[in-house]
């Protein structure tokens, strides 16, 4: 039972991790919160749906096309929502990303209708049974592919020249420009990367949990919480924060199944509704006692 619950939580957390990672790379590069990020997850689901309807490509090839298409979306998005407003106060960028998010939602509604839709699987539908554990193939594929994408991003940022330029831009845009780095190109590339990760997550989530035009608001909240728990700006923190959210969402309400005495002790506490309340209380506690998050560094202002 415990291993089944942990596997479910891991599959959910892996998708959330991709969402949070895309969110945090854009946050780091621009210093602005991209409120459209959840809608980019939703858009990834619909792009996957459109590609799989129009072609008979296998799921992995669809995923590759979704990543490319969403990277282009991210690139164009930066030209519409960020660059024209980058010298304005941050609130202008918040609002422009909110506005574009609404455009994404209504466009999806107009193009694909409001019906919940099921995206294509990465490999195949169906269950794999290992002893007592029955696991959907798609969930295992999500864990594997998300791990690969997270690793690829880590290697890109830590081991390549391009990654160093991206990190330099994220750390100090003015200094990066002063040493001759193409800061605008790096920022546009970061938007493309963030959107591509969101799109990949969107495709994976759309098969297991379906996709509707209004799904974005749920995912942006998850990304925001993951980044706050993990540490504002920390890539590893975002991934761990996402995994913690999923673990909490799945494991906490399942505790009475693992420890039957809890069922009589406080049955109302171990529901998914109560676990959502506790998650947000935990978030408030982290913001109060450890505002830099679990993996963030304490920031001190220079006098």
């Amino acid at each position: 039972m415990l291993s089944q619950i942990l596997l479910n939580a891991l599959a959910l957390g892996a998708s959330y991790a991709l969402v949070a990672l895309g969110f945090v790379v854009i946050l780091n590069a621009t210093g602005a919160v991209n409120f459209t990020h959840g809608d980019m997850v939703m858009a990834g689901g619909y792009v996957a749906l459109a590609v799989s309807s129009a072609t008979s490509l296998p799921g992995v090839a669809v995923l590759a096309l979704v990543i490319v298409a969403m990277a282009l979306v991210g690139f164009v998005f930066s030209g519409l929502a960020y660059f024209p407003l980058k010298s304005r106060p941050p609130v202008a960028i918040f609002i422009s990303t909110i506005a574009l998010g609404i455009i994404f939602q209504n466009s999806a509604n107009a193009l694909f209708s409001a019906e919940p839709r099921k995206g294509p699987p990465l490999f195949a539908d169906g269950l794999i049974t290992l002893g007592d554990i029955s696991m959907p193939r798609q969930a295992l594929a999500i864990i594997g592919v998300a791990a690969l994408l997270i690793l690829a991003q880590h290697l890109l940022l830590s081991r390549t020249s391009l990654g160093r330029k991206l990190r330099a831009t994220a750390q100090d845009r003015e200094m990066a420009a002063a040493i001759g780095l193409p800061v605008n190109a790096m920022i546009a590339l970061t938007f493309a990367m963030g959107a591509a990760l969101a799109g990949a997550a969107g495709m994976m989530l759309s098969n297991t949990f379906f996709v509707t035009p209004t799904d974005g608001s749920n995912y942006i909240v998850k990304a925001y919480i993951a980044v706050t728990i993990g540490g504002w700006g920390s890539l590893a923190g975002a991934v761990c924060g996402a995994l913690l959210i999923a673990l909490f969402e799945v494991l906490f309400p399942s505790l009475p199944l693992l420890i039957p005495s809890l069922k009589t002790l406080a049955p109302w506490l171990f529901t998914q509704t109560a676990s959502a309340i506790l998650l947000y209380l935990g978030l408030l506690a982290i913001m109060f006692f450890r505002p830099q998050g679990l993996f963030g560094e304490t920031v001190q202002r220079r006098v």
């Binding site: 039972m1 089944q4 619950i5 479910n8 939580a9 959910l12 939602q105 209504n106 509604n109 209708s113 409001a114 019906e115 919940p116 839709r117 099921k118 539908d125 269950l127 029955s134 959907p136 989530l205 297991t208 949990f209 379906f210 509707t212 035009p213 209004t214 749920n218 999923a246 969402e249 799945v250 309400p253 399942s254 009475p256 199944l257 529901t271 998914q272 509704t273 959502a276």
Partner: protein, 375 residues
């Protein structure tokens, strides 16, 4: 030459008479101003679009002698969005009746405006409270929870012979209203659920609830969730191989819900609703189904049929001489109408639909069969 002139004069005369007759006929047409104010965007856009399509199809099929002036407005999902849309429609002139949002919270906000302006609202909202406000201007063409949940529970107990139920419902107003009526119906039959739990609409992984259902060892699951959560829950129950019959709420009857699942996942799944147009049944329903598919390139559900019947009742009342909003209100409140889904008649509080059907899936196709009607 004389004959030619004579012929010309006769043709001219005939044309004059014909144009006069046409003008008279046009003048004799009853004009009905019927705004359609429904949620086309937001979390209820699937159901709202069905409602819109039902109203629009009825307007296109308006009875002879009735000219309909109509405009569709998206109310979104906020109460203020709905009241603003209604006030704007009213400000444009005399409104005969309104196709009003199926979202209960929006209906509750629109009710005082309708009362103040004496304009009848027709809706397919299932929220019980909308007809409990003593407002004579609300008419519900979809079975309220009192009717639907009675069918839901009675089918599970009387026909499926089940006694131990797990109840899973949504945390929203829709879910809580349904839960209340399910518990009331179970109590009447001397039963209480062996397990119950609420789910937020945003919950994706429902395995903790599925695990608790299995641990409670029920002999059936009563479900009252929105469309996508219904499909998610049924899929996760199928993956867990619980092998329990599921008796779901009306969201299950919507073709897009069934489209999310494999036919095998739907084995032993039943649901309550007002009608299942894709199951056909009568020549009129078949014609509606054909027209709907042609015009909207999608599958109709019970909400579309309910709003079609509501709109058609308004237009039929106009064809029979009801010219003002007041006269249409009186016709809706005091007469009965045989629609596609059922015969509608107000119970004095605006509840027009008094029957529900149970549909079941066979595990082979996604088209359900109507297995029982509860009057």
């Amino acid at each position: 030459m004389t004959i030619h002139r004579h012929l010309q004069a006769r043709i001219l005369g005939t044309a004059l008479v014909a144009s006069f007759a046409c003008a008279q006929l046009a003048h004799a047409q009853t004009e009905v101003v019927f705004p359609v104010l429904v949620p086309i965007t937001g979390f209820l856009s699937l159901e709202g679009t069905s409602q819109r399509n039902g109203a629009v199809l009825a307007i296109r099929n308006a009875p002879a002698g009735v000219k309909v002036v109509s405009e569709v407005t998206d109310t979104g999902v906020s109460p203020e969005g709905a009241t603003t849309a209604l006030e704007r429609a009213l400000s444009r002139g005399k409104v005969s009746a309104v196709a009003a949002s199926m979202l209960g919270t929006q209906m509750l906000a629109m009710l005082p405006v309708a009362l103040e302006n004496k304009v009848p609202l027709t809706t397919v909202s299932g929220t019980a409270a909308i007809t409990e406000r003593n407002n004579p201007y609300v008419f519900r063409f979809f079975p309220g929870d009192a009717v639907a949940k009675a069918a839901h529970v009675r089918y599970a107990v009387e026909d499926l012979k089940k006694r131990r139920f797990a109840l899973v419902y949504q945390t929203t107003a829709y879910g809580q209203s349904g839960r209340g009526h399910i518990l009331e119906q179970l109590k009447k039959l001397g039963l209480t659920p062996v397990m119950e739990e609420a789910l937020e609409p945003s919950v994706k992984d429902m395995s903790p609830v599925v695990g608790k259902v299995a641990a409670a060892q029920p002999d059936a699951i009563l479900l009252h969730l929105h469309s996508a959560p219904t499909a998610l829950f049924i899929k996760q129950v199928a993956n867990a191989r619980l092998g329990l019959p599921i008796i779901a709420g009306s969201a299950m009857h919507q073709p897009p819900t069934a489209a999310l699942l494999e036919p095998a996942d739907l084995k032993d799944v039943c649901a309550e609703t007002n009608a299942s147009p894709i199951s056909g049944g009568t020549p009129e329903m078949e014609q509606f189904l054909r027209q709907y598919r042609e015009q909207f390139k999608s599958e109709p559900d019970g909400f579309a049929v309910g709003q079609y019947d509501a709109t058609m009742m308004v237009l039929t009342a106009a064809a029979r001489g009801a010219k003002t909003a007041d006269e249409i209100q009186k016709a809706l409140a005091g007469t009965s109408y045989k629609g596609l889904a059922m015969t509608y008649k107000s119970d004095g509080r605006g509840n027009m639909a008094h029957s529900a059907v149970m549909i079941c899936y066979d595990g082979i196709s996604r088209t359900p069969k109507v297995v029982k009607r509860f009057e």
